[in-house]
Symmetry: C2
Subunit: 571 residues, 2 copies
Amino acid sequence: MRLALAQLNTLVGDLAGNGQSILEAARQANRNHADLLITPELSLWGYPPRDLLLQQERVEQQGAILDGLCQALAREQLHLSILIGAVEPTGDGFRPALYNAVVLVEATGWRPVARKQLLPSYDVFDERRYFRPGDEPCLLSLPNGVRIGLTICEDLWVDPSLQGGRLAGPDPVAALIAEQPDLMINLAASPFSADKPALRDALAAQAAQRLGCPVVYLNQVGGNDELVFDGASFVVDARGSKQLQLQSCGEDLQTWTLSDRLNDGSASTSASQLSPADNSDPLELLFRVLVLGVRDYTRKCGFQRALLGLSGGIDSALVAVIAAAALGAENISALLMPSPWSSQGSIDDAEALATRLGLTTSTLPIQGVMEAFDPALEPALGGAPSGVTAENLQSRIRGTLLMAVANQQGQLLLTTGNKSELAVGYCTLYGDMNGGLAVIGDLYKTSVFALCDWIDSAQASACRASFDLPHQGDLIGEEIRLKPPSAELRPDQKDSDSLPDYPLLDGLLRRMIEDRVSESTLIADGADPVLVQRIAGLLKRAEFKRRQAAPLLKVSPQAFGSGWRLPIASS
Amino acid sequence: MRLALAQLNTLVGDLAGNGQSILEAARQANRNHADLLITPELSLWGYPPRDLLLQQERVEQQGAILDGLCQALAREQLHLSILIGAVEPTGDGFRPALYNAVVLVEATGWRPVARKQLLPSYDVFDERRYFRPGDEPCLLSLPNGVRIGLTICEDLWVDPSLQGGRLAGPDPVAALIAEQPDLMINLAASPFSADKPALRDALAAQAAQRLGCPVVYLNQVGGNDELVFDGASFVVDARGSKQLQLQSCGEDLQTWTLSDRLNDGSASTSASQLSPADNSDPLELLFRVLVLGVRDYTRKCGFQRALLGLSGGIDSALVAVIAAAALGAENISALLMPSPWSSQGSIDDAEALATRLGLTTSTLPIQGVMEAFDPALEPALGGAPSGVTAENLQSRIRGTLLMAVANQQGQLLLTTGNKSELAVGYCTLYGDMNGGLAVIGDLYKTSVFALCDWIDSAQASACRASFDLPHQGDLIGEEIRLKPPSAELRPDQKDSDSLPDYPLLDGLLRRMIEDRVSESTLIADGADPVLVQRIAGLLKRAEFKRRQAAPLLKVSPQAFGSGWRLPIASS
């Protein structure tokens, strides 16, 4: 039996368009003589559909799309079955009103064949808002006698020892053991975070060994708002050895043959083990995920071009490189907006980077606008703004210039702030936080340095070339990578005037954010009590800024954004 | 048996402070000879605690606080028991790791006595993110022989015919019928929306009749970020007639005696039925809810003073009145920021309103800053900004002035936009959307008019006086209430140049937002197809703005904010 795995990049909510992509994949799978085409979780909807699932008429539209697919299979004589991720109404009038389901589509008709049993409602996931859990193992018996166990994404995440805690509820893999399936398929929509690829491999391998059969793990690919799905679908045999690996960060369609011999779990393993994914270098994978996230958000929002402010610092330099890789340097404009406090070095560094990348730049000095604000504010302040107010004002002038250019020229403004800044509030709301997408908002400053070092390394050369970036020599450049970080909002300002060194700061922030550890534990573990209290206070007080921050590309297990839900007015 | 109902206003996450408030209520209840003190759902935490519940050490802290309360009862010889809303760890290592529980606290110790069975995970609620459902009826038998059925908030919301759909799961009220309780208590944290007070009354009355016993409905009060809890707790007898009514929008502590005769459901009903709540006028209640929301958000965030921009239009006028009622006119500053396109009428109207209210004002003309931006943008745009870009620029200049003053003077900036604008994107991100709290962001423009008409009516006089507002004659004024809405961002601009009349627009928006109805249904129902498509397109395209909007006070069943979760890049 021949399987085709369609690792699709869908547009959320576009049932008709996604159905068309599935049909296109079916045509190709048919040409490749596949018997069964597999698509990702909720492939008809794109994941996550969020509150689009509450639009009753959209749910009703789904039936017509599935009917149309059946008719197309018949009309075009495509002799294969398709597993499609879709919703199934519970029909009993209670809320939530849907199951997260798999339907089997054939020329003769379609029917639901599986319901998701473990519904993630943690981090960025809200599945209990929309779905009721299924309560039975899902076994699909095909006319050819092959018995397929079906699970949906979280249904595979059942081993606390691998993943660190699991959802309460049934073990959908265990429930399949008694059914002795010939194959288990997991339809997934699993967003990237750095720890995920290895985890998915381990969970699938373990399930294969428990069930004594191969496992197909099929993930969605593409960026949907803050989430980037890296794809990297694969097949493991009954011993858990990789038999097929689809690419990371791109659409892919591959076929794989389930042979009878595979079922005994012994003789089948290929001698040549495949690598876990295309990219074993975590920094390369991170780079490619960010590029995919920027490209998809920009294009799926209807933009062709993007804009950013280029300060000469490392954050905006990294965003410029990612944006050029995502959209082509010819589609990226950069504004240099020097103030009287900007160093000549920063201006030179920004210009040199733009030249290396081939970006269009304009230089807009802000002194004239700064000088106009002082008398404008005089009636309220009785003088010119001072201190942090004056610093914020510069940032907001730049943010306003960026938005004016983006509005007039129809570009998406990219935000260049990093996670360390967002954590402690070292950023200006309505200023440098302006933008439609925060590209590196989930990268601590130390990760920004590491990624830039990698970009300038020889190891990145092939990756840079694959994105039509200059691939020889430095791209970011030592001047930018090695200088002390500074916001340059007052003379000779350095980040280190206000914040501890980034390795120390990021270490504390990781414990507070990723591990949600309290000040007292950090102090008990030996951290400086004064520093810990100060950073914890900054983290809490910046919540109001994060609430109004641009969507940011999640690449860590705990990003700010929809998976971080803290009250503002609280103790 | 004498019950005390403590309608508390807690600070989210402040377990120690909230515990102290409960102890203070216990002292007062003891003075009033109460046997049992009842506090709201999660009263030790404040509702909603959100991701504070994921901080393991905070959960552990709870035990020490409860121990301390027991010791205080013993030390102070307070001879009463307390029902406290708290969390109960499941202890099995799976996620979610908590129950939403009730603990009984006495001088001799404390113990969990109830677990919430129906966990709301719709609209603004995410309880499945944190809690596992309880699965059994909760009956508390006191030493004096009284048998109390315990339910927590949503556990009472079990009649689809009253509330329009219900959660799948058990009926916790039905499960208590066989237990024949003498009393049912519902500990609630039910945020205000206009339909809620009558619904709560109906649900409690129905439960009383089903159980044949009185029902105590005890709600939290106070503003917590976007949610405003209106309190309005009450007791109904076994026939569903009101026996006690606590106030709306304020802390309250009342005692009520459960007599044996009440249990037979016949002879007990007082002849004098109480009114459903202090305020039967929905507009008065709406006003008081908004005032409470502004006051609590401001103070719980640590501010004493607030700032707003006063345009002479009706939205900022309404926000100014609400803010003055919430914080006192002496704590409100207003900026007038006329441009060359501002009419003299608007400036006069804004000044006259500020005078009537007694606000501090400053006038900051923006022409100078506007003129400075044109040459600053020239290198990028090759000329001055035009069209919508120029309009947005004026709004962002004003937003930047407001933030500079708020930063320098330590005020909370209040946002003045309404729901109609937020819906169609008739507002400027990083401009007039700037602020820490969107006071009327859940009021359609037609509701803004209605509320302002009420404020200027004779019916509002007593309410205005209660907030130390001028209570005679017009406060908003006819000039502001009756003039055609205009953003005044270009000469002679009117909202009606860009948008349909507000009654028509708001009617369509209500169907699209509150009912999540599609364009095709609206058109089938007779709406103008071109208009419907245009408004639906605007609604969708403004999602990116709403994602970065300030928290807004929810007063409707479907507000923008945390209960509105749509993708941005979608179809």
